[in-house]
Amino acid sequence: MRRIRPETRWAYVFLLPWLIGLVVFQLGPMVASLVLSFTDFDLIGSPEFVGLGNYAKTAQDPKVLRAVGNTVYYTALHVPLSIALALALALMLNRITGRAAGVFRTIFYLPSMTPYVAVGVLFLFLLNGQAGMVNQFLGLFGIEGPQWTTDPDWILPGIVLMSLWNLGSTTIILFAALRNVPRELTEAAMIDGAGRWQRFRSITLPMISSAVFFVVIINTISALQMFDQVYAMFFGNQIAQQSHGDAALFYVVYLFQQAFQFLHMGYASALAWVLFLVIMVITLIQVKVGNRLVYYEAEEHAG
């Protein structure tokens, strides 16, 4: 047997607790989940092998189609809107100085400190068709607001609206990136007579492109996994669940129902793997596209 280098032994001593956790709580369950996804298992009795049956079922399950539709609709609106708004806030923050910038940064981040569940409960109230503040505000302009929480056509737009309140992290990341844009660059361009839009387009945006790219990926992944707020709003009790039909059925909500309400563990595992594959494909596409669009400095930071 080959002698194990003492260095290697030490490395594994340091890695051990984490490695055990990785195997027991991450890799093991991943493999188990993949296996379960090929079975029919409802906690009673032992899993029954059904091959690709569960995956075939997802393609035909009308609820899955509905949930995918809702989730994609939400993601397609939430990601561009939230990043555009956060970028606008970050750009404005970057142009003011001193204390005021800190105060605004804090205020913009406050919503992100709020538990998602509380956000959901709060917005169920704010979006209420009769007594909600949103419609009261629209009323000031003579607009009769929709029934955001009960009209199936308006539930998703309402959820998008709620998501736009949570711009904190995205704003903070973009703001930090803007701070790192060397001032000399924009100043040089200014002297050359470049207008504001031109400076933004050809200097600022390329310089922060990796941060923008990063928040696009992060926001897309988390939008696809939307759960907490929607669950607290529309699925917290039986009455709420029935009265909204499937207008607020998000993919992970349906997965949760299959697993922990109907105890279809095999089917839920298949749903989870479909989600995983979709996230992986989207991330890969974004990385591919990103590599073409993102400007990386020749010198990387530490690491």
Partner: protein
Amino acid sequence: MAVIPASPGSRPGARRLGRIGLHAALAAGGLLMLFPFVWMLLTSFKGAHQMLNTPLDWLPNPWRAQNYPDAFGALPFAQAYWNSFYIAVLNVVLTLFTSAMAAYAFARIRFRGSGLLFGLFLATQMVPQQVTVVPLYLMLAELGWVDSHLALIVPGFVNPFAVFLLRQFIRAVPIELEEAARLDGAGRWTIFWRIVLPNVRPGLGALGIIVFLASWNGFFFPLIFLNSPELATVPLLVSQFAGQHGATDYGLTLAASAISVIPMMIAFLIGQRRILNSMAMSGLGGR
């Protein structure tokens, strides 16, 4: 204040106007962010009779502070606070400790399998928790940990992001410090404990805050693993409360929400500079 050079041709008056406009736009944005909180607080003092008045009553009339003790008494909120708090603290301690050890190995020790392990670790970062949750549930049920806090504490420490972040920090510690200690006869563990950890304190602090928040605000796992009311965490209890009272008494429900939000708000306002810097630095913050 930094001097912002005027673009050629812009007059001081126009610049002044621009600055006022800028601050006004930011203030409007800030108001939109703050308003839901203000409205939550105001509403939490209103009685049920005030909810459907049109036009809306801005202020509670009368101020019903009773909503707070009522909400607090209806479900075991005091217990939930303690549950959320100690679970979050244990999550922080476990995550920081195991992640720092692993990060040190990845950052500073050359060993067989390093590349393979790190690749594996990066791959797990992309796996959504929905993939592992079903087998995790089955396994923890087998262990008898379902409906126990162990289900939230023990599996929580596997956090690839934490290892990644701390590895960056450890790499920035000057290697000379370690070499000097080694010459003095310090072993690996002493170096890790006495030299490396104290030098990455900002990283540990940032990570600790992120882990604490994620644990405190977490909902998916408590919802799945906990049943008994006395074991509930704060978000779980708020969701149950809204389920029971949401449609009938908004004042009471929003008082319950406010109860869940206020302590974090206060903690945030005290430590906000550090928290925001760490969020920007890590680029994540969980959401």
